[in-house]
């Protein structure tokens, strides 16, 4: 994709929230560093999404991988 096409391509999409929530947020962000409801919502959602992603993680090492690594760590004096 050429740089121009990437520029034209929208980076944002529309998500609906209740008007009452919108107004509640608008009131909340008055006199803060957030310049729009969208900006605030983006900020908060990123935080929440990251936390949910974090909760799902499991370490992928096989027992064999783990054994080899522990041997190396012992050899180097880390354990």
């Amino acid at each position: 994709m050429s740089p121009r096409e990437l520029e034209k391509r929208g980076k944002y999409t529309t998500v609906s929230i209740p008007v009452t929530l919108y107004n509640r947020i608008k009131k909340l962000i008055k006199d803060t560093g957030f310049t729009s409801v969208s900006q605030y919502v983006t900020y908060v959602l990123r935080e929440i999404v990251a936390a949910h992603e974090e909760a799902r993680y499991e370490e992928p090492f096989s027992e064999e991988d783990k054994k080899k690594i522990l041997e190396k760590l012992r050899r180097l004096g880390y354990i």
């Binding site: 994709m1 990437l6 370490e59 090492f61 880390y78 354990i79």
Partner: protein, 382 residues
């Protein structure tokens, strides 16, 4: 709990066993691109997962997102573009979809799938990343010297690092297992390219108060002239830890990574890398990843406001100084005394003393550490 890798998966693109044999044989038949030591280091970081979720050099879409938005095209925070530059002549005849062999030191070190070949704007790159076009900035200078085209695509490492300090280098899979083995849940990382003075020790111990352990993580890679040599840094830290740290609260391990001196952006990048190593916290001090006067002393703190989803906690610790009235190492926040009582530690003055073979005063550097540093005939990079 050890941090989840950035993007949710620890990348491993180190070829092993049969696949390694196959790729090594294949590499000798492929079009050859010679790469610099710095690009080889980037390759190592990608392959060993330090740059998770990257599986290769950036494609154009991700590259442009990183420049403009400091995120990948999947919204994941990413602030430093990891790119492979080539001349049109050396890539002629290679098309998208082909495999190429990347060579360093006359040997094939990786096989790369060429997914994209694209042009770039070096000045836009330099301005975005380094916030300056001044060629006095080492990163700007390097950028302007880079080649005309960028190649994006996945890599497979077929020759791992050989280094005199290899016994001191741990990769993310290893530190993650080490931290679990130690039972550490909160791990703070401290990035350094210097021998430790009393200010560094203060900052590390302040962070250690609230965590289970600290990863002291000296950088091994391209550095600018005047930086300390790797072996000097390690020897100095070994002396400091031996004499002044409790047992079993430190892991001293080298990080093979290029230093870009990109200030705020690089501070975030460094935090992401330590997240991949399993750390939960990362110390950001004064002028992190800075050089000269290109960035404000605490500019690297403000940028973290833009990343509520970073997944590693930045610990902003102010510059430490010695206060004659407080009678110890303190910082601005906890010392109420005026400037006349404050003795600041200058890295520049320390370097000068060491260059001249002089023992620094104890308020600047522990004598055991100073002795070790001074025992090296030539402690600095040229």
């Amino acid at each position: 709990m050890v941090s989840r890798p950035h993007g949710g998966k620890l990348v491993n693109r180190v070829a092993r066993s049969k696949r390694l044999e196959h790729l090594r044989a294949e590499a000798r038949e492929l079009p050859r691109i010679n790469i610099s030591y710095e690009r080889y280091i980037d390759l190592l970081d990608i392959a060993h997962g330090a740059f998770s979720p990257l599986e290769g050099f950036l494609l154009q879409e991700d590259y442009l997102y990183v420049l403009d938005d400091m995120r990948l095209s999947n919204d994941l925070p990413w602030t430093i573009p990891i790119v492979l530059d080539v001349d049109p002549e050396e890539i002629s005849g290679v098309k998208e979809g082909d495999d190429i062999a990347l060579y360093y030191g006359g040997e094939p070190v990786a096989v790369m799938r060429v997914e994209e070949i694209y042009g770039w704007d070096k000045k836009k790159h330099a301005q975005s990343i380094y916030k300056t076009l001044d060629t006095g900035h080492p990163g700007v200078k390097k950028t302007l010297e880079m080649k005309e085209l960028l190649v994006g695509g996945t890599i497979d490492l077929i020759k791992d690092l050989e280094h005199p300090l290899i016994h001191r280098i741990l990769w993310p899979a290893e530190t993650r297992i080490l931290f679990r083995e130690k039972g550490w849940k909160k791990i703070v990382a401290f990035q350094t390219r210097n021998v430790p003075h009393r200010g560094h020790e203060y900052v590390q111990k302040a962070a250690l108060t609230f965590t289970d352990g600290i990863l002291i993580h000296p950088l091994i890679g391209w550095k600018k002239p005047g930086d300390y040599r790797d072996e000097v840094i390690f020897a100095a830290y070994e002396a400091l830890i031996k004499h002044y740290y409790p047992e079993n609260v430190t892991v001293l391990a080298g990080l093979v990574m290029n230093m870009r001196y990109a200030g705020p952006r690089e501070a975030v990048h460094h935090a992401i890398v330590r997240k991949n190593f399993g750390c939960t916290h990362f110390i950001i001090g004064r002028d992190h990843a800075g050089v000269g006067d290109y960035y404000g002393p605490y500019e690297a703190w403000e940028i973290f406001d833009e990343f509520p989803d970073l997944g590693i906690v930045p610990l902003f610790i102010r510059e430490a100084f010695y206060c004659k009235k407080c009678g110890g190492m303190v910082n601005e926040k906890i010392c109420p005394h005026p400037e006349e009582y404050r003795v600041r530690i200058s890295g520049t003055k320390l370097r000068k003393m060491i260059r001249e073979g002089k023992m620094p005063p104890e308020y600047m550097m522990r004598p055991e550490v100073a002795k070790v540093v001074l025992s090296f005939k030539d402690p600095f990079v040229h």
